[in-house]
Symmetry: C2
Subunit: 235 residues, 2 copies
């Protein structure tokens, strides 16, 4: 069951290698082969960082706390991630890459109405049990890091890239549905921005309340935007 937090919630077993003395790889932090059995030390540190961030918030997030959670030295953390900001950036872009990859894979219907609903259902899903905790934690990571974006150019650019991807995804579907006569002729860009904004805010509610009852009304509302507003009662 693939999930947007699956990557980050993998458990670590055994001691990560103490490879502080070896030559520094060009971009070890991003060098994870997909599906490899042995996560790199950089990955393990990033996963530990995720756990520290979503369990305790930014207030408790230090490279020492991450080192403790990963069972490595603080200097090993800094070997892979020069600064705390580098580690946060790596965590954020890995998470966003995973999210956009999942959206591309899951929201791929030929029907633009269905594609918009698939996007909303995926982004605002509230599965049962542990999988819900995973989605809550992933939403927390996004909210935490977005709150740092005003003070960090790279994070702001990553937020912008992600928003632009999602808004273009929605605007494309809206244009397609208007051309086919399935949707009424709204202005695609403001619709897309508002649709994505509502979804993002719904994810923040999931992060804050960890309660599916605070999330479902947002999903109902964005579904109504598709069926009652764009579709004028259903295509």
């Amino acid at each position: 069951m693939a999930d947007d937090a699956a990557d980050a919630s993998a458990t670590l077993e055994g001691d990560p290698p103490d490879d502080q003395g070896k030559d520094r790889p060009g971009d070890a932090a991003d060098a994870t082969p997909d599906g490899g059995d042995d996560p790199s030390t950089a990955d393990e540190i990033r996963w530990a960082a995720f756990d520290v961030l979503v369990d305790r918030g930014f207030d408790a997030f230090t490279t020492q706390a991450v080192a403790d959670a990963a069972g490595v030295s603080q200097s090993l953390v800094h070997y892979y991630y020069d600064t705390k900001e580098d580690l946060v950036f790596s965590m954020f872009t890995n998470g966003l890459d995973h999210l956009t990859g999942e959206v591309r894979e899951r929201a791929d219907s030929d029907d633009p109405r269905e594609r918009l609903l698939e996007l909303a259902r995926y982004m605002l899903r509230t599965p049962e049990g542990e999988a819900f905790e995973d989605t809550v934690e992933f939403s927390r990571m996004l909210l935490e890091i977005e709150s740092q974006a005003p003070y960090d150019d790279r994070l702001r650019e990553a937020v912008e890239y992600d928003s632009d991807f999602l808004e273009e995804f929605v605007a494309d579907a809206v244009r397609e549905g208007i051309e086919s006569g399935q949707f009424r002729a709204v202005d695609p860009e403001p619709f897309a921005v508002t649709f994505v904004a509502a979804i993002r805010s719904g994810q923040n509610r999931r992060a804050i309340f960890a309660d599916d009852e605070r999330v479902r009304p947002v999903l109902d509302g964005v579904a109504a935007m598709v069926d009652d507003y764009l579709g004028e009662g259903g295509a």
Copy 2:
């Protein structure tokens, strides 16, 4: 020109009194008479805390940094605010109280359509010059503190109270417009939740990008929700 950040952006002049030795007032932090000439020391500390938070983010937010910014001792900060969390909570609830007060005052048209537009225009305004900076800073404070809400029961309750107020405000207007035949018969609650969610996310965009061009499409989109969706082309 009243503004939701006016309170917080007041400049401090002169040394705040060193009243560490006096009897501790019951709730000095909330004891500011409206419009009084002399802000209390608790207010001055809270304003300094606001400046530290919106200039540098939570990562740099310590009671020592606040004390330095306010020109007082760290122990005086703790005299008024037992913990950093108390200071953050006070900042947040003061900000939200101001915001809900302004909404009540500004979005008071008898026409439900106009009331929804007034709400959206106020929440997503992008005035010129320094006033824009004030709105950006206020949005940053909200985003920063929301990102702490998953880890703090009082902050979460304050977010919930604020969301419920805004959603009820919107749902009431929608119900009124449906009853009068001005709006189509949407389900008021999901509409309200989505409308408020889009606005909140638009405020986060203002916080992150400090760019009116990232905010206006959200305002255009929520205005279209009122006129094209609810009003089906305008009442």
